[in-house]
Structures are given as C-alpha cells and as structure tokens.
Symmetry: C2
Subunit: 127 residues, 2 copies
C-alpha cells in the first residue's frame, strides 16, 4: 500500500471530502494565491459569472490542484476578510506557472472577467 | 483501491515530492493563509528562529496539512512579493480553526516569535 501511505503523507482533503489527519507539511509546491475584490460583491449575477470563469480557468493543464473559496469573516484585526473570492492554484514549479500565465485559457479568463473586479492581489510562494 | 483513487482526486503533491496531475479542485477545506513581514528579513538568525517557530506551530493537531514558503519574486504589478514568509494551514472546518487559535502550541508560537515580525496579514477562506 505504497500509494495509501502517500495519501497519509499529504494529509490532504480529497475532492470527495474525506479528510486525513497528518502533521506532514506539503513539499515542492508553487502556491499561486489570488484575492479578488469584485466591483459589485453583492451582485449575484456578477458573482456567478466570475465563479464560472474561475471554474474554466482551473482547466489549465499545468494546474496540479486548485481551491476556489470565499472569505471567512473574522473580527480579528489582522484578518483581511474584505475580498470577494480567493483563488488558489498549485503548480509543480515556476516553469509551469510561467506557461499558465500566457495559456489561452488564462488569457480568456482575464478577457471575460476583468471587467468584474476592481482589485487583485497575487501572492506567489514556494517552499 | 478506494484510497488510491482518493489520491488521484486530490491531484496533490505528496511530502515525498511526487506530483499527481488532476483538474479536480480541492473541496471542503478551510484555508488559513498568513503572510509575515519580518522586522529584519535579511537577518538569517531571525529567519531561522522564525521558521523553527513555524515548524513547531504546524504540530497543532487540528492542522490537516500545511505549507511554509517564501516569496517568488515577480515584476508584475499585481503580485505582492514583499512578504518574508508565507504560512498556510488547512483545517477541516471553522470549529477546528477556532480550537487552533487558542491551542497552547499556537500561543507559544506567538509568544516566542511575535517580536520578529512587523506586519501580518491573515486570509481565511472556505469553499
């Protein structure tokens, strides 16, 4: 069961929603985390269109895995919960992230959705 | 091989560094992403002490998995590469994250390391 112990090592949550506890940190990952502030964060049509765009965007084949989410509100001062969408994509390395940047699916996402947001912050980090 | 297909579904990178391609987004995850700006980002002793603190912090048992990383520099205006450390912890749900906030290991991390940073931004997001 080599593969099964691989799962335990990731300690990750599968798409089926099963969580596997682990204290092992993830390794060799390029994390691309983008926060979007929509112009109309309470407009359900704009939100749906934007989320649909993200669901297309994550089809870029260089993406190893991804996470599309919304803020968890917090009264803590250090927590910025003002964004509308959190979008995270995981890459094997910087080269794959570079390919992603100019991939037609990515360019189409920007073309289709950029009118919806007023602010974007990108954080790229590697271990 | 139910577990093995669970791995394929996560599309994630194991601690051993093996990548498994997938277009399946991660589900049912509370992502807690913290960016730290150290007072002395070029001080190797301060960096080592801080990273050691993070390596202890991720032992909080509610953490499903984690990622400790440094910025990937970028000339793109939307990319904020000014932080010193990126620390990400994944939880099953908000309740576990609440337990983490007041866990003795977390409180010890703050006590031991807070003199090292000058700025922190926390983003909490759930799908």
């Amino acid at each position: 069961m080599k593969i099964a112990s691989g799962v335990a090592a990731t300690g990750f949550v599968s798409a089926s929603g099963n969580a596997m506890a682990s204290e092992v940190p993830l390794k060799n990952i390029f994390v691309h985390h983008v926060f979007f502030w929509l112009k109309e964060p309470k407009n359900n049509e704009a939100r749906a269109q934007f989320e649909k765009g993200l669901r297309e965007l994550i089809k870029v084949p260089q993406i190893q895995s991804s996470h599309i989410a919304t803020p968890v509100e917090s009264p803590r001062e250090v927590v910025d919960d003002s964004f509308t969408f959190s979008y995270m994509a995981f890459f094997k390395n910087k080269e794959d992230q570079n390919i992603y940047q100019t991939h037609p699916i990515h360019l189409k996402f920007i073309e289709d959705c950029q009118h919806l947001w007023e602010k974007v912050i990108v954080y790229d980090a590697m271990d």
